[in-house]
Symmetry: C2
Subunit: 125 residues, 2 copies
Amino acid sequence: MTDTATPDKTLLIASNRVDEMTVRSRDGEKMGHVHSYMVNKRTGTVTHAVLSLGGFLGLNKSYYPLPFELLSYNAVDDLYIVTVDRRLLEGGPSWSNNAPDFNQAYADRVASYYDTRHEAIQPGD
Amino acid sequence: MTDTATPDKTLLIASNRVDEMTVRSRDGEKMGHVHSYMVNKRTGTVTHAVLSLGGFLGLNKSYYPLPFELLSYNAVDDLYIVTVDRRLLEGGPSWSNNAPDFNQAYADRVASYYDTRHEAIQPGD
């Protein structure tokens, strides 16, 4: 929970270090951190951030896939703010131990829950 | 070096699993794999893929940051093809042990080498 400004920090992060990104609620409460991004391999677009929330000393963590557009990047504190209500997130799609196959059906389910734009993620041609 | 078609594989990949992505040259030769993506935290755009090339049994690997636009995704084989000449890539910016700070100056250097579009990655306001 740092408030140090990092104005000269660059905006780029290596995908294997995204778990350094803290996630806060709209009220400023620390909620957890980013576990991973889901990335469209063809376009190079991050479609979702999988958030790692809860747990104590790393136990009982749960993972919440959130459409990336529902995160707001705060450059001053170099963290993300969840733009939807915390309870909405906590009631949403999530898993603890067995990560789902993040296929079209699962992406549709997440999009439907958050009422975000449906986007086809199958390769197509 | 699989040629199995994976037409129903989804296009999404978790950022902590990008090292599963094979990279081939334009001639179809296996060159290595993706080590990581560099991602713009604000926009969720992959700006570069850091390729892991060479080495034997994991030794002496080198890492080559390539502007993402110079990779072409092949959905049939679910891999990337480097669209520039292999020798151009091998003569480009790279590192072995000490990853550089991927700041504006470094991004500029990569863009300059590959003559790609310069993009400001500082937070701005």
